[in-house]
């Protein structure tokens, strides 16, 4: 059947600012929105540009704004969306071309919270034991795929691009609450700064946007509690 899409376009060589173009493609209602966009690229206009890879919601390449909400285009089915389906790049990052945004600031913020296990004690011959109960304290935040749907849906981030953003806080949470990590204090100092966890105004856009279902606002709340009560 025919599916109507309205896609924001921007070619840095020729355009001063982005504009919208309308497209109609043949698709099944059960197809992904990514499939419809790739139909446009493949059959109508090869210059349409986006990132994509796994096509089933685990690699985090195709985050974009779909009918006003951030989502992965490969996790959204056409039948669940009002047409024309309006597609825009994620907001808050500079646009490179069409739906591709500059991810470097995002990854730099991620790196700033020391998103890796730090434990310099001699490792045992086998595994470091951890109870299921301890693992469950950070299980939710291990699911992050760094798609940036949360950070680019955060009004605080839109207003202040120095804010470390929800995705970096999720990464910090994942290690602060891991019983095997030894650098919790160091990380709490980093995210305890004014552009860290306290900048979160609990708007919950991040939680709504997360394609992995991570309770982002709750995780940030847990960091704040840890900052105060230890």
């Amino acid at each position: 059947m025919k599916v109507a899409l309205r896609i924001q376009r921007f070619n840095p060589d020729t355009d001063k600012s982005p504009h919208f173009e309308d497209y109609t493609v043949e698709s099944e209602l059960t197809d992904r929105i990514l499939d419809a966009i790739l139909q446009v690229k493949g059959l109508t206009d090869g210059t349409l540009t986006l990132r994509k890879s796994c096509a089933h919601g685990v690699c985090g390449s195709d985050g974009m704004r779909i009918n006003g909400r951030n989502a992965l285009a490969c996790r959204e089915l056409i039948m669940n969306h009002k047409q024309p389906i309006v597609i825009e790049p994620m907001k808050g990052f500079s646009i490179i071309k069409d739906l591709v945004v500059d991810m470097e600031p995002f990854f730099n913020k991620y790196k700033s919270v020391k998103p890796y296990l730090i434990n310099d004690e001699a490792a045992p011959a086998k595994e470091r034991p951890q109870s299921e109960k301890d693992r469950m304290k950070f299980e939710d935040t291990t699911k992050c795929i760094l798609c940036a749907c949360c950070t680019t849906s955060c009004p605080t981030y839109w207003a202040d691009s120095d804010f470390v953003g929800p995705a970096a806080l999720v990464a910090a949470h994942r290690f602060i609450f891991d019983s095997r990590d030894r650098a919790g204090e160091e990380r709490l100092d980093i995210v305890g700064e004014k552009e860290g966890a306290w900048k979160c105004r609990t708007i919950f856009n991040c939680t709504d946007a997360c394609p992995r279902g991570i309770q982002v606002t709750q995780a940030i709340g847990e960091i704040k509690r840890k900052e105060i009560f230890g």
């Binding site: 210059t47 540009t49 796994c54 089933h56 985090g60 390449s61 011959a125 595994e127 291990t142 795929i145």
Partner: protein
């Protein structure tokens, strides 16, 4: 020096001058998945100056899509040992795996899993805090006496955790990353590797990376098929580059079809579904695997289960007479499904609108994994001929490589074992090589062929579209070189591929800009798929026997007298040349493969 600090901001626009930027690193790792990142981590710990080049951000790599687990005989929940793992791997491979490499892999799997845990990987835990383990297809206790819990897992997102953990540790160890750099050529002269040529996607510029040692860890090529579990990015780039540079590819006729892909979409539903007790039912509701593999039933290896599904469909027992069957998880209960299989439950709900707790899931085999690839030895050095002559300075690991530890059919979990064990070994052996060798001189105009390739693609005036041509290739490969093959279907595939190759020369790349030109990238990837399809089909046509994932209806038996050997396919001047080398046997003698 990261990509972002190179002065190549996002808006350089068109008209970038084509003089390549030259970089120098002792070691270059191409590919940011599990194998590449483990190698880079090992190299950085050895203080070797290393850069990782990846056409995606590393965290987008397909390792992250692996679900079920890492096979390692930790014996945390029941009796197990690496020797049983070896037996299962060799038998699973239909005796085509090299037994010395299998032995090494299964032994090192154990320490590798512990090292990953120390690096932070959040494994599921047993009641006493150890790494938890689950059953998986083809993994048995005491040489086939029944299933064993060997797969170390993190819910059904084990690969995601591996990828995250290794990426994080590479950040910690300050590995240099060149993200969204597409490697198009290998600089190889007089049998010595000297670096690579890469295309920076962001601005269309060319880069020469001068190196002492280069590792290809570029992943698989599943996108040559229509129904596949593989990401769009899996177009066999590294294998195709090596092939065009005269390195033969090993055992390309062996491509794994995973039995439980979501119907029509091919999205993977982990073997862990069956490891946790799920069963496959035909249209009559029968648990048909009982008939084909009475001992381990639904946990038979993938090649066997995929063939059985096809057989049921052919005999009219598909669901509603169609070409699919059902995966049944309904008896597992909501708790097991939500806790141990959360991601696949989410896929089923999102893409099929059904509930795995209550509903049967329509499935069909999906193209999943290339057992073949760039021939490599146990130290991940590329071996360029039938005498295993080492190509100095060139390494390969992970799915793009063929060690061979998977032979004719890979066991579930062993891909993760492979990337980890051989990724790390690659890093260590490259470090050793870098310490004792100088940079070999760069040849003049090392980027000449890449420039010519790009110019050709940009200046084509034909009407052919990448999407249409790629779809035709995928359809032909699925129809003619799939779970079942015959001389007739394979010859059909070959004549199709000849047509595709000529259509490719008329390909129209409509995006002419330098900035993030994915239209051009898609075309380059399609070129790689066509070349790889060609050698896959030629090797399959030549092999007149059935072994593992390669099933010839016209030669239904395994023929050890003639075919217990690895194929090596080269491509030059449009012709495929096939040579063979012996399989390394060991303690496990040939036997009929029954489960």
């Amino acid at each position: 020096m990261s990509a972002s600090t190179m002065g190549s901001g996002p808006n350089m626009g068109s008209g970038t001058d084509l003089t390549p930027k030259v970089h120098r690193f002792e070691a270059i790792v191409v590919g940011g998945g599990g194998a590449g990142l483990y190698a880079a981590l090992a190299l950085s710990k050895e203080k070797v100056q290393t850069a990782v080049l990846s056409k995606l951000y590393p965290s987008r790599s397909h390792t992250g899509a692996a679900q079920g687990g890492i096979g390692a005989a930790l014996a945390n929940v029941e009796d197990d040992n690496p020797e049983w793992h070896m037996y299962d791997t060799v038998k699973g491979s239909d005796f085509l795996a090299d037994q010395d490499a299998v032995e090494l892999m299964c032994n090192e799997a154990v320490e590798t899993v512990y090292e990953l845990e120390h690096l932070g990987l959040p494994f599921n835990r047993t009641a006493d805090g150890k790494i938890d383990q689950r059953k998986f297809g083809g993994h048995t206790k005491d040489h086939g006496k029944g299933p064993v819990k060997r797969a170390c897992f993190s819910a059904d997102r084990t690969g995601h955790m591996i990828l995250q953990t290794l990426y994080q540790q590479c950040i910690k160890n300050e590995v240099d990353f060149f993200d969204e750099f597409h490697v198009m050529d290998l600089i190889l002269k007089d049998g010595v590797c000297r670096g690579v040529v890469a295309y920076e996607i962001n601005n269309g510029s060319l880069h020469i990376f001068h190196a002492k040692a280069v590792l290809f860890a570029t992943g698989g090529s599943g996108r040559m098929f229509k129904i596949t579990s593989n990401a769009h990015a899996l177009t066999g780039d590294g294998m195709a580059v090596a092939l065009r540079r005269g390195v033969p590819l090993e055992d390309m006729e062996f491509f794994q079809f995973h039995p439980t892909g979501i119907y029509k979409m091919g999205i993977l539903l982990s073997e862990a579904c069956r490891g946790e007790g799920g069963i496959i039912r035909n249209g009559k509701g029968e648990r048909f695997m009982e008939r084909y593999a009475p001992t381990i039933k639904d946990l038979a290896p993938r090649d066997i289960v995929s063939r059985c599904i096809h057989q049921e469909v052919l005999e009219g027992r598909g669901v509603n007479g169609k070409d699919y069957v059902h995966l049944d998880l309904t008896h597992l209960g909501a708790e097991v499904i939500e806790k141990k299989l959360p991601d696949i439950s989410d896929f089923v709900r999102t893409y099929m609108g059904i509930d795995p707790v209550k509903d049967l899931i329509p499935i069909q085999p999906t193209a999943h994994y290339a057992m073949g690839g760039i021939p490599a030895n146990k130290d991940s050095e590329v071996v360029g001929d039938e005498n295993n002559t080492v190509v100095k300075g060139f390494y390969a690991a992970g799915e793009c490589a063929c060690v061979s530890v998977h032979g004719a059919n890979r066991l579930g979990t062993n891909s993760l074992v492979d990337i980890l064990v051989f990724g790390r070994r690659a890093g260590l052996s490259m470090a050793k090589y870098c310490r004792s060798n100088d940079f070999a001189a760069l040849p003049a105009n090392a980027d000449e062929e890449v420039k010519a390739q790009i110019d050709r693609l940009r200046s084509n005036s034909g009407e052919e579209r990448t999407l249409t041509l790629r779809s035709d290739l995928q359809a032909s490969m699925t129809d003619n070189c799939g779970v079942y093959r015959t001389e007739g279907t394979l010859k059909k595939a070959l004549s199709d591929i000849a047509v595709f190759k000529s259509r490719f020369s008329k390909l129209h790349v409509s995006d002419r800009s330098q900035v993030f030109n994915t239209d051009l990238l898609d075309a380059m990837e399609l070129c790689n798929l066509i070349d790889l399809a060609r050698v896959t089909v030629e090797a399959a046509l030549a092999r007149q026997e059935s072994r593992g994932a390669h099933y010839r209806e016209d030669f239904q038996k395994r023929d050890d007298a003639k075919w217990l050997k690895h194929s090596l396919a080269s491509l030059s001047n449009g012709k495929v040349d096939l040579k063979y080398k012996p399989v390394v046997m060991g303690k496990f003698p040939l036997q009929e493969r029954k489960y």
